[in-house]
């Protein structure tokens, strides 16, 4: 039995769409990383683009997975074994992008401090006398945040004298 050699335009379209969806998903995740890479200058427009891409990416990448499933469903039945393999493989970057768009890569590099705990000044043996601290006194409370620790975490949230503070360095 001869198989028809020509493939209808809709199959080509679905295949092209699948490829575009993969590229778009990867771009959604990669472009903000590129824009906000350290040791490169940032521009206001670049920053704005990164903000919006990061804000929309979790939903758009999921949408891309859904759209890709529709394309795959359309292509599956008459696809050869290697086409089917490629279709399945396409879902790896698609799923990867959907997952990555929901990760905070910066907090992977610099682990956040989930809850600030303090010790009495006399017990703070891990801080040398000459080490700089960020010191605040509010409503009777006096707390010192060693710069070394804050510089690593970047942000430490605490409550001092009843006031919620974000200690940053």
């Amino acid at each position: 039995m001869l198989e028809p050699r020509s493939r209808p335009a809709s199959r080509r379209l679905a295949g092209a769409a699948l490829i575009l969806l993969v590229l778009a998903s990867l771009a959604l995740v990669a472009v903000p990383v590129w824009l906000i890479r350290p040791f490169a200058p940032q521009t206001p427009d670049g920053l704005a683009a990164a903000f919006w891409l990061r804000r929309l990416a979790p939903w758009l990448t999921l949408g891309a997975v859904a759209a890709a499933l529709a394309c795959a469903a359309g292509l599956w039945r008459r696809a050869r074994w290697w086409s089917r393999a490629l279709i399945v493989l396409a879902f790896l970057p698609l799923a990867g992008a959907a997952w990555q768009s929901r990760q905070n890569v910066f907090e992977k590099m610099f682990a956040p401090l989930p809850g600030a705990r303090t010790a009495a000044a006399a017990e703070a043996g891990w801080v040398a006398a000459e080490e700089p601290v960020l010191a605040v006194a509010l409503n009777g409370d006096a707390t010192a945040y060693p710069v070394r620790q804050v510089a690593y975490h970047h942000i430490v949230q605490d409550v001092v004298g009843g006031v919620p503070v974000a200690v940053t360095y």
């Binding site: 906000i36 990061r54 006398a129 000459e130 700089p132 010192a144 620790q149 690593y152 974000a166």
Partner: protein, 231 residues
């Protein structure tokens, strides 16, 4: 250090990126992006809003402990590699490239440490190295008389408004010590590094503290392009 609150709503922040080597943080509540050094939201629902600065010092632990023996200190998170990260952090950072291009005629090198104050909307940057050598330094910014003083550790910097009861004081270092003592020419009172008179006619009085930021010159200049300088 910022008050983590806008319109009475507590915000929780997460590290979210970097903008010309000053980091950005995102609040969980609205997803807005905030610039760390200015406390201003750049993007998102709270764009344009500014967090309130919480007055704080950046001084050495030893000096702080003397002033606040009953104070509290942040416990380290020993699950995080902050010790490895911070071992030579200042020295290493000073060698890193700067992405903001230096301008011709810049009074300081890009990574030179400056003490920055803003008085009545006017910014001024003081060379920390020169301050430490010449402390105490008297200056006036926008008609406000300032005292810039290094602690007895030769490192910690504080800034005060040197007026008490409308009278401007001229202060000098008193030889001897530790502890560091300053003397004012107008009344002969002695003053501590905390800006409090510990002897003389003005004993018990305090000079108003002025917030000072120790920053790299390139970063200060980015956010205060019209800043004055003192060397």
């Amino acid at each position: 250090m910022w008050r983590a609150e806008i319109d009475g709503r507590v915000l929780r922040f997460h590290l979210t990126g970097i903008n010309n080597q000053n980091f950005l943080m995102q609040d969980e509540q609205t997803g807005s992006w905030w610039q760390q050094v200015t406390g201003e939201a750049l993007f998102g629902p709270l764009k344009g809003r500014k967090l309130d600065l919480v007055f704080h010092d950046e001084i050495s632990f030893g000096l702080w402990k003397q002033e606040h023996p009953g104070g509290r200190v942040l416990r380290p998170d020993d699950g995080a590699p902050w010790r490895e990260f911070s071992h030579d952090w200042e020295a290493e950072t000073a060698k890193l490239p700067v992405v903001t291009p230096p301008r011709p005629g810049d009074p300081f090198g890009p990574r030179e440490l400056i003490a920055g104050v803003v008085v009545q909307g006017t910014a001024k940057a003081y060379s920390v190295a020169a301050l430490r050598r010449q402390s105490p330094v008297l200056d006036t910014v926008e008609g406000t008389p300032l005292l810039l003083v290094a602690g007895e550790d030769g490192r910690s910097i504080r800034v005060f408004e040197r007026t008490v009861d409308g009278r401007t004081l001229t202060l000098f270092a008193q030889p001897g010590g530790p502890p560091l003592r300053l003397l004012d020419a107008e009344t002969g009172s002695t003053w501590s590094f905390a800006g409090e008179a510990v002897g003389g006619p003005l004993a018990g009085r305090r000079m108003a503290k002025v917030y000072v930021l120790l920053d790299d010159w390139f970063d200060w200049r980015t956010y205060h392009p019209e800043t004055r300088v003192w060397r």
